[in-house]
């Protein structure tokens, strides 16, 4: 094994504001060190509405993909709302690893990151 097939990120949020010419954004950073492409499925959860998705992506063998969550083109056309707390789940047919990061420039320039929770 080189990873897990089920990952969870509880703290996702696309800030509504950006400053300094740096767009606030988030990335779901996936790594597939295996020899087979991974078919990954995203589901997005909210506080007060039903989940959105699934969004199905293909992560190549021996590749990483830092999926921009603010970019509908990266999510099969899905536009996530800005300024709204959300969370997401990633299911994969091959073992992968997921780390979630945010750049928030609402009031400065601040990055954060965490490994997702995997099973």
């Amino acid at each position: 094994m080189a990873g897990k097939r089920h990952w969870f990120v509880p703290d996702a949020f696309l800030p509504a504001e950006s400053t300094g010419g740096f767009a606030s954004h988030e990335a779901a950073c996936l790594l597939n060190v295996g020899d087979r492409d991974a078919h990954v499925r995203f589901t997005f959860y909210f506080e007060d509405r039903d989940p959105l998705g699934p969004v199905d992506l293909v992560l190549g063998a021996r590749r990483t993909w830092h999926v921009r969550l603010d970019d509908p083109a990266a999510l099969g056309g899905l536009e996530l709302p800005r300024g709204v707390p959300y969370a997401y789940e990633v299911e994969s047919d091959e073992p992968v690893v997921l780390q979630h990061s945010r750049l928030d420039t609402s009031g400065g320039y601040s990055l954060f990151t965490s490994l997702a929770y995997g099973e």
Copy 2:
């Protein structure tokens, strides 16, 4: 399973100061991807006094909740002290995932986050 029932966050702290119009705060970000509501119980630990709580909340099925720890209304009326190191534990009757985040604007604009420790 899709998560765990017992989570721990050792580094919690509500900064006493805020600048730039951004309120320093923390959030306990919970995710419940299951089909049943989760009953979650928070207990808060301190360096030099007995724990506070329990605070009992209900996290809906297939929902996330970014629980604002600086908001007594989110915690059944409990007001956590600012400027004091604390920690917390979350117990749940259903599997959930917990990630803890802080925005500290005391001296700038800085975010941090970590997955909690789950069992």
Copy 3:
């Protein structure tokens, strides 16, 4: 169980500089939700010299302690060098949880945190 007895933090560093009146520092945030005091032992590792320690501390039952690593008084008199990469290990006779955080004000105001690796 409510934690583990052996924890590791690879990325520790006490910045040599501070600005804005905010002292750059690190904290080893421990949580003991159990009913017995925990006896914890710190060992500090470096890139080019032998380890320092042990430093033995007592973490009360049902208490957290955000141990300031820049404060010799918190570490039984041990003064860790500033501006030097280090790492540390914590061994405990009771299950505890460890999270490591840094405030770096060398060139701004930036926090980071991560759960330690536990066994």
Copy 4:
């Protein structure tokens, strides 16, 4: 055991820009608390090209090493591209612990860190 032999970091990125006299950089922070040197092998993954490496390093017994990923001298001459999303894998013959950190000064002064995913 005191660590694992296989680690993964999905979110790596060497910012192309730096400000304030602080070089944007990343570090792969390794800790070996054991009594034997660890032979560690890095492989670097990208979004649109084949992996780079291996890069073989020796981490001394009872030592930490905060390997600067922007420094070809630390990576046996390998110069990683700046401004390009990447990821990496570390394999070791001895148990070690890996934590990944970034300083990004492109638009401010921001640190982030996460424990790597280990197996």
